[in-house]
Amino acid sequence: MQPLVRRRQHSVALSAMVLRRLAIVFTSIVLPVAAHAVGTNAGLEIRNSAQASFSVGGIAQTPVNSNSTQTFVAELIDVVVVSTNAGPVGVSSPDVGAVLEFTVTNTGNGAETFQLIANVAVGGDDFNPALTQLYLETNSVPGLQIGASGDTPYLSPGNDPVLAEDESIQVYALSSIPAGLTQNNEGALQLRAVSTTIIAGSGTADPSDPDFPAPGTSYAGAGDPDEAGTGNVIAVVGATQDVNNLLISAEGRYVVSSAVVALTKTASNVVDPFGGATLVPGAVITYTLEVEVSGTGTAEALAITDLIPAELEYLAGTLAVSALPAGEEVDDDFAPVGIDNTGFDAGTQTVTVSLSDVAGGAPVITITFDAAIR
């Protein structure tokens, strides 16, 4: 191989490459118990009365009414946390800004405040992610956004979410991933939502603490106000707090999974002006770049750039790509900016090919172009 060609090999670059695990489309998720609240609202009054008619000596008497029983509906404290990622979330090692998503739903029958607790020391995994921050979905834009108009960092107890019956909130756990992990290592993070009524009543938010209340435990006057305005109803710990079938916590997982991008560049078809194959000024070289992505991940926003050295002249219209993502065209105008970015930029003397996301195992993508020796 000519020195010229070898030197050019080093100028090939991968830009803006984020490696993420290929989403597992067919993962089936088993969701615990339907997350909808049970009926009658806390504080409501249930009344009952009966009426009787009767006769004496064949003469109907004035019907009589019974007293009316009055029962206030107590507040049932129930909450269900589910992991809402389709499967383990792919990360690199090390990595920052790895996000897990959870949904916290108040399945009780009253308004309740919940404290959120993330636990990374979960058994049955390979590493502990380091929690950076929990966020509450507050800006109505799906997914986690951080910043001025982004979602709200969760800082207990200042903004413990208050949820009405049936209400849900999306919670994000932002973590960093330690270095030195190997492919397919998994790290779990558990999110727990504990009613502040339970914390106040039992002194613990930890279901493994013997003081954590069993379902059926009640706290007088700790529920919602009754509809008659005479006070607050009893709060009762619901079945989602059952330590044998705990629904107040859920686990999300990170998996170390990278995509490996291999680039091979060859020069071929040298045609000199004299019909031979000698590298002389005016000779045209066809370059071939082969892009192969392997591994279980996806190379996201994969872009290939190749700087044409001063000794070479890119020959307009010769760039060809075997598989371009939708919206990309081979042209030299780079318009619209940020979308169609495949072509030759005379200003920077660079050939750029935007391949977008390429999954591991995808067919090899071939890029060819011609350049002439000056």
């Binding site: 009926g39 249930i46 009966a50 009787a52 000596g57 008497q61 007293n67 009762v236």
Partner: protein, 174 residues
């Protein structure tokens, strides 16, 4: 409400050891002339709890209904007493209890010794369960117990003065 002769008698005779006996003696005479029979109803509620006993068997017990949450089972008991001094006619005591709001009747729980029990889907027309039907997509089907809106008990025996009996039914809080 008018003050009955019986009331006056009760007051005038309520002092002294012979009051009760005298009252009984007089009341028959008075009330045969002036029918003032009194049936009173006393309604109470309890929570029905299912639990597993020490032998591992499932049992049910009645508790105070001071903490009731959705899904709980409640038992309403209506005690009826003849506080008057006349015999109340056989087949004449008819007790009607609408199913409380936010609850649903639990099938086969209505009870009443010596009573015929009928049910209603609208609170007006009462019939035996097999006669209660609803239309489901153009087909007439038996109504489910959850759709009952009222229960009626017809007490068959006569109810003598001082006698008492009770009826009950269970619901689940929605």
């Amino acid at each position: 409400m008018t003050l009955s002769i019986k009331d006056q008698l009760t007051r005038s005779l309520s002092r002294g050891a012979g009051a009760v006996r005298l009252f009984v003696l007089f009341s028959g005479l008075v009330l045969s002339a002036h029918a003032t029979a009194e049936v009173t109803l006393e309604n109470s509620v309890q929570k029905v709890e299912t639990f597993v006993n020490e032998s591992g068997e499932t049992e049910r017990r009645l508790l105070d209904a001071d903490s009731v949450v959705p899904g709980d089972e409640l038992r309403y008991t209506i005690q009826f007493t003849n506080n008057g001094s006349d015999v109340v006619d056989a087949n004449s005591v008819v007790i009607t209890n609408p199913i409380p709001e936010n609850t649903e009747y639990l099938d086969d729980t209505a009870f009443g010794s010596g009573t015929v029990i009928v049910y209603s889907l609208d609170g007006e027309a009462f019939a035996a369960p097999e006669a209660l039907t609803v239309m489901d997509q153009g087909v007439e089907v038996s109504a489910s117990a959850k759709e009952y809106r009222a229960i009626r008990w017809i007490f068959e025996p006569e109810l003598k003065p001082g006698e008492s009996s009770h009826v009950s039914f269970n619901v689940r809080l929605k």
